[in-house]
């Protein structure tokens, strides 16, 4: 899946779960500080992303995903591995 597709998919999830404006969802943004997604909502984002992209994101790895860009790369790699 292309970077653009993953980014668009994440933007949809973030809007659904946390009301984030899709135009704010760019690779350099941090989930917690920039997009105001708290740790509980981040769990929802991860579960929705696993379903949408058909990947597994273990809890230990979630902690390493600080920015939207981190998540996009992770999902792309996990997608290839799957």
């Amino acid at each position: 899946m292309s970077q653009t597709d993953v980014l668009a998919g994440l933007a949809e999830i973030l809007e659904e779960v946390a009301g984030v404006d899709p135009t704010d969802v760019t690779p350099e943004k941090t989930f917690i500080d920039d997009l105001d997604v708290d740790s509980l909502s981040m769990v929802e984002v991860v579960v929705a992303a696993e379903e949408k992209f058909g990947v597994k994101i273990p809890d230990d790895d979630v902690k390493t995903l600080k920015t939207v860009g981190d998540a996009v790369s992770y999902i792309q790699k996990a997608g290839i591995a799957a």
């Binding site: 779960v17 009301g19 909502s41 579960v47 696993e50």
Partner: protein
Amino acid sequence: MTRSPRRVVVTGLGATTPLGGDVASTWEGLLAGRSGVRTLTEDWIETVPVHIAAPLAAEPPLGRVEARKLDRTQQMALVAAREAWADAGSPEVDPLRLQACVGSGIGGVLTLLSQHDVLREQGSRKVTPHVVPMLMPNGPAATVGLAFGAKGGVRAPVSACASGTEAIALAYDLIKFGRADVIIAGGTEAAIHPLPIAGFAQMQALSRRNDDPTVASRPFDKGRDGFVLGEGAGILVLESEEHARARGARIYGYLAGAGISADAYHVAAPEPNGAGAARAVAEALETGELAPGDVAHVNAHATSTPVGDLAESKALYLALGSAAGEAAVTATKSMTGHLLGAAGAVEAVATVLAMQQCVVPATRNLDALDDEIELDVVRIDNRKISSGAALSNSFGFGGHDVCLAFTPA
């Protein structure tokens, strides 16, 4: 901290009920004698023997993202608290002197049960990470405390159908003895679901008038056969008189006294002679420095159960003596149904307005007063009353008895 007891005033009111989405529409509904009870159309309705309830008149007007992290009890409490806060003129208050006291009888039972379904059907990974803060009984108090930055304390009394009233009684003590200047206090409940309905039905506590919903809730009537389950929230902004006067707030009246007692008789049945409830009424008068003859109006707990209504009548006579027969009594549950932990908070709102406007909404569906009930229950037409103290009673499973005493400004 102020050492001498201070007087407590009511400066803001908020509600969302089966009669309306705010205080004005609820009060208009009470004066018009409207019923909030209707036949349920949910797909599960045939699984339970009771098909009627009193749902909210208006869905909580919250944004989608805000709503999805909040149980319905929290949503309703937030809506009522926002109304009450605005009604109080959005008080400027030191956050350390602001508290929230919001009770619920059952807490986030809709979330608990729906997420249990998710767990069983879809597995633990699909359980929402918000489930614990949504189902915990202190959730609504926490939601309200967060919304208004109440850093002085957030409290959540749980005493079944007396919860909201006990939250107000607790707030009374906290302000009176100087532990807070402003408290957002009340109750909330959302339990229209087959499990609570089945449970209350098994206790023989619910009316079975499935074919005639609007006349099913009939407190004090000979033909009463149980309560009608309702949902909603009521919130009062309570304030020390000193704080309210200093900011020039509009004052509805005083919360002059509050009484809390317990039957220690049975976990669900009221003490038949009303002795426990009478102690709560007596304490409300005593703390408010009131005499029985000062009481012009009583908003009774009166849920429409055969034993409960009779015990309350006896309790009022025990506490007030012959003055019990002089007060204009009403049972607004005849219109709202029984909002469990929110009931007393919504009724406190109605009591304050009745006292302030000197008009008591008539009890509906009271065709023939029970021969054993000797109260002056207002029926058919609303009644003008002279200015005086007003009581609001709430009792709950567990033997909880709470009474609030309001006096005019």
